[in-house]
Symmetry: C2
Subunit: 350 residues, 2 copies
Amino acid sequence: MTVTMTIDCMGGDHGPSVTVPAAVRFVQFNDDVELVLVGQEAAIAAQLSKLRADGHPRLSVVNATEVVAMDDSVETALRKKKDSSMRVALNLVKEARAQACISAGNTGALMAVSRYVLKTLPGIERPAIATVLPNQLGGYTTVLDLGANVDCEASHLLQFAEMGHALVAAVDGKERPSIGLLNIGEEVIKGNDVIKQAGELLRASTLNFYGNVEGNDIYKGTTDIVVCDGFVGNVALKTSEGLAQMLGDMIKEEFSRAWWTKLMAIFAMPVLNRFKHRVDHRRYNGAALLGLRALVIKSHGSADAFAFEWAIKRGYDAVRNGVLDRLSRAMDENQTQLQETKPMPAIPAL
Amino acid sequence: MTVTMTIDCMGGDHGPSVTVPAAVRFVQFNDDVELVLVGQEAAIAAQLSKLRADGHPRLSVVNATEVVAMDDSVETALRKKKDSSMRVALNLVKEARAQACISAGNTGALMAVSRYVLKTLPGIERPAIATVLPNQLGGYTTVLDLGANVDCEASHLLQFAEMGHALVAAVDGKERPSIGLLNIGEEVIKGNDVIKQAGELLRASTLNFYGNVEGNDIYKGTTDIVVCDGFVGNVALKTSEGLAQMLGDMIKEEFSRAWWTKLMAIFAMPVLNRFKHRVDHRRYNGAALLGLRALVIKSHGSADAFAFEWAIKRGYDAVRNGVLDRLSRAMDENQTQLQETKPMPAIPAL
């Protein structure tokens, strides 16, 4: 099976200078992949020729005249830039000419345009953004939502759990991945009303619900999946980025303080490099927009080519593992269950 | 001026074996401090004699027969354990026999008993928990609330900002510390309704409001103070703890992988130790319960003696810098302003 994906080449802080090299490398290393490069033809062609990849049989270019800027409002992206690389890339997926779209464009715009173009799966009220973070067990924890939904009801959190379940079950082959509800304590009585209700819904569901988890459990790997509302998830993610950045900078600073610390850095280099590789956040780039009728992967806006390649890989894995099918099936089953358990309509009093 | 503080010696995961050595060290290094050790007399005496500190002129012991366990409910702590070390230590502060209380006891119980015994300052609806986290500027960022309030209205977030302002102005001598509102984007339109309203209140206030900040800004040091609701703050803090723990463990693992990596660790030791010292979370131990009629400092439950000493130091700094006075004055001014700007009562229709 060939996996065909569209690349929004103009998205992100760096545009084609990052997205095109990543795409070229990815097709070179994966024989069963075709990539459609969407964006301003001339800019893409220039990159391709620089990389001597023009005419690659599994790379094609589709022109799109407009670009959604990183600070464009949802309104602008949706109503004013109908020929943006983002929109055209999503349209190709909608027309079934590709199975997934990868974009480093601005999150709000990407979510809005994706919803508009692709629509949500039946039974999904709110799509969510899911990503993976490394954990102490040497694996990773899937966390959602990371910012698509700032105000959630308990039923939304349940849906996020169901979507996370479908994603992890498909991609990692774990039939019953465990699910934690992000809270401020393990006890059932902790948290606000929405969280407590979500806990009840999750306990009553057929999912493998572990219970409440706390922020540190994301990195401990206590559960395969951690569910939270988009506000909390976004803060947890950004806080982690900030802390990792600070610690990384401090290590560098300490090792470059004087000639003798620089000497030590040389000695310690192989070990430091292994450590750096293990925690390299670029390897965790690529968040899935879940709940749409097609697969969309959002890359970090500041991604470099190596990081963007990981986002492409996430799309590739999702397509190959049938994430969308699995998600649709899970939602279908839910709908059926809901209908089956629906109470008999009361006979109206005459 | 002598600073007198009570120590809840039974609180925390380790009780007197941590709290008493920390207290002894602290009085030995600070001539202007008197500490009242509260808890089970025999247990405290045993520790004191082990440290040859029995009879120290600036250490006294007050007996309390009960202990609030780390998993006791608020109900139990409040209604059933009236002779707990926590309660007795707070009572002594209430009776003005000490100026602050330091406890590593469970957060929920400590907040509830503190509120019950000490009461809140006039004008404060909700006390908040504030702590400091290191930032890239080499200083630290004060963050509140960290878990006292899981459901906040905009006016509560404004009060947290006012309390944070009073704390930082007093302790750090910054007259107009900058305040950031934790959000999921910098733009004014981001976030949920409560956050948007809080932003409006902060912009209209006399505080030095910077605007919205994101999770990474805590560690960047973008503002002196970051304000958020207790749910979000707690998740940010715990997530940071989890990430720091994971990274620390990974560095250790990499350096102890083989004989040659162990050798490298020896070479790199001085640098790694400096780094470890800089990011040592124990130096940031001690969160202030703000908004009460007296000072209460909450230490991490798992603190060791070194960390607990830092919590005592935080209490000491707060007392010496007149944090409580500053807070009361700020709240008084607010009250006056509120009264002055109150609209004329409407003449009731007859």
